[in-house]
Amino acid sequence: MLNPDRRLFLKGTALIGCSAAAHPLMSSMTFAALPGDNRLVVIILRGAMDGLDVIQPYGDPALRQLRRKLATGPDRGALDLDGFYALHPGLAPLMPLWKNGELAFAHAVSTPYRDKRSHFDGQDVLEAGTGNDLPVDRRVGGWLNRLLLATPGATAETAYSVGVEQMKILSGEAAHLSWAPRASLDLSAQAQLLLEHVYQADPLFRDAARDAIQIGAESMDMTRTQGPTADATALGAFTASRLNGESRIAAFSIAGWDTHANQEVVLGRALDRLAAAILALRDGLGANWGRTTVLAMTEFGRTVRENGSGGTDHGTGGALIMAGGAIRGGRAYGEWPGLGEGQLYAGRDLMPTRDIRAYAGWAMQGLFGIERDRLERAVFPGLELGEDPGILA
């Protein structure tokens, strides 16, 4: 029969790290202190979120001229934020956070990616965190991975890629863990025991199965919500559960922002998911929410004019949404470029006034103490961080 101690051993290793040497994911394991108590979550909004509809600059009179069908401003259902910007009603569940200083945004931001407006290339640039000096397909490795390399004491457990798909933002040399919240292992005790036996001579399968069984068991307790926002809630809740443990950095993505047609409905659904994910993070993190910064970033914005099918097309400048108890929220960041003639990018898009990476860079500086020089050369090579926007409380 199988040695009963072995099973205990398999269950225990990931918890106490006693077999770190045998675990490829933990090859960088040291017993140095973890990189502090602060937490960073990056949500990639795939499909290009229309920042102008999510945070509506209704104080700019040109907005209503450009968007006659899409509802804009507080008199058409949006929630006034500061007399100039109004929040899309789809994010109404987040208004308490705004009032608490736990929600903020920066308008007119972008990556250095320009003009071709391809989702795939745009997301690659966003996740790689590099500039335009390299061909798109050479931008390998993500900026969160380079952050790990720059963080003393980081281990595989420090960072989590959450979801089924590979997150390029975390790919690279530094070890990290990955799991999809809906991935589960519905194995009987006997099947699990037998499978462990079958894998025991194959380290690749043995270690992956150990993590899968361990993580799968830990995440079993999570509330299984139903409905259209269930996946987003699961992403947020699972991420929170890891950040309450040893993890400090996590990334996942929410898709569905490509609103070429019928934007009112499509964007509403995407915003429901985003709000659900952020609230699940807050609820799941409990007291740790106070040390958490959430950055929701998209590959680019959308055209300032609505198109003929009740939507908007691929643009340039967009918006960054920030949340968490660690931020100085309840305010708008960034320089507003205006929507008038001559103020647009290429006559059609919101003019970017700041590189979105600068906000992420300053967040990492404040949360993990990464020096400016390191941020500008290693994490975001070639970026000039510029002035500190002061987004952290």
Binding site: P24, D186, L195, V198, A212, G308
Partner: protein, 455 residues
Amino acid sequence: MSLGFPELAAIRLGYGLSPLMPPPQDADAVLAGVARAAPGADAVTTDEAREFHLRLGELSKARKQGDKKAVDEYRTFARSLSRLTVIDLQRRMVRAVDDPVGFGERLVQFWSDHFTIRPMGAGQNPLAMAFADEAIRPHLTGRFEDMYVAAETHPMMMLYLDQTASRGPNSPFAQKRKERGFGLNENLAREALELHSMGVGAPYSQKDVRELAELLTGMTYTPAKGVVFQPQMAEPGAETVLGESYGGGRADMADIRAALTDIARRPETAQYVSKKLAVHFFSDTPPEPLVRDMVQTWRETGGDLARVYRVMVGHPALAQTMGQKIRQPFDLLAAGFRALGVTGQKIAALEHPQNARWLFNAMNSMGQPWGRQKGPDGWPEEASAWIAPQQLAARINWSLRMPRQMLDELPDPRELLETTFRGGQSPELAWAVPKAESRAEGVALILASSDFNRR
């Protein structure tokens, strides 16, 4: 226990053993089987694909003009186009499962991945299907240069790597529209050298990339006109690529073909592509003698692919590197269906949404969303890219679910163990299978085992 050639060939070069058909008896049987991977009766052509794309455009236009009927028609048509991704996966799976040898279909996958394309939007889905039927399947056993030229000049590749957006900066077309800023797009030229032929380490320069891109200008595609050569978009003058001069007279496709053919014939191409074949079929770190033998044959035969395959099929490395590769999710599904005796007919009968859930979604959760490769470098080869914890969990869950989805009655796990491995199973698996609590778990142990997930 060591396996004989038939079992090794079925597991390593095909989609595994099946109780419904015998494995190939010798190298000739393996190689002869490749002919079955030629374009089938259901082959899609570029002309058909253009019609679909144009129709979508017409409906989209009518819809935007407020034609109420067109709104519904557009939605129905767009939906059926978007479902083609799953339909294409399904038809590929049927061929993989039913082919007695499987090597031909494995080659279709290898070359389709070597020349990765990705449809941008549902309108391009038929063209992506045409790419495999026109650029890959007809050239599986020909010379590499024929497949290479067919792939680089196929409209799907032109769209994917932005050739359709590339114009000679000094061409009459760009000069007449200076304010529009038309210019060169190097994407296709770069990948034609870097990913598709010589490899990134080869001695070519940025200047070669640029001049090849200039030579490629004029070659373009639109759904309305098909593939055309537009001399007014071509960069004037001769271009020098890898020391050879091309063009200079009236620009046309012949110069492009000549340059591509020369690149395909380079010794660096023989080295790079032979090694890539060896990595895909044998090991992430293939034995040096195998690669050397393949390169030698490639160079002696002018890149005759059938001859290169013969070296692979007959090489001692086939046995030596057994088990070093992970079955990619597509291969795992095909091998699982074959092992259980699920026929292609049964897979072909799956309708929406079952075909999406049981094929596409299953592979997606294992990390291989069909047709959605992240970049032109295609799917990863290395074992670790496929066995992350959540991916392995998806493989295990599939092993539990799939047999119940596809079969009314599950096989006896002990018999399945025998027909699937013919004695090649590990002692650990042989020990565990009879101890399973139920048939379902016994079958799942086999499908989830490292024995079965490796080849």
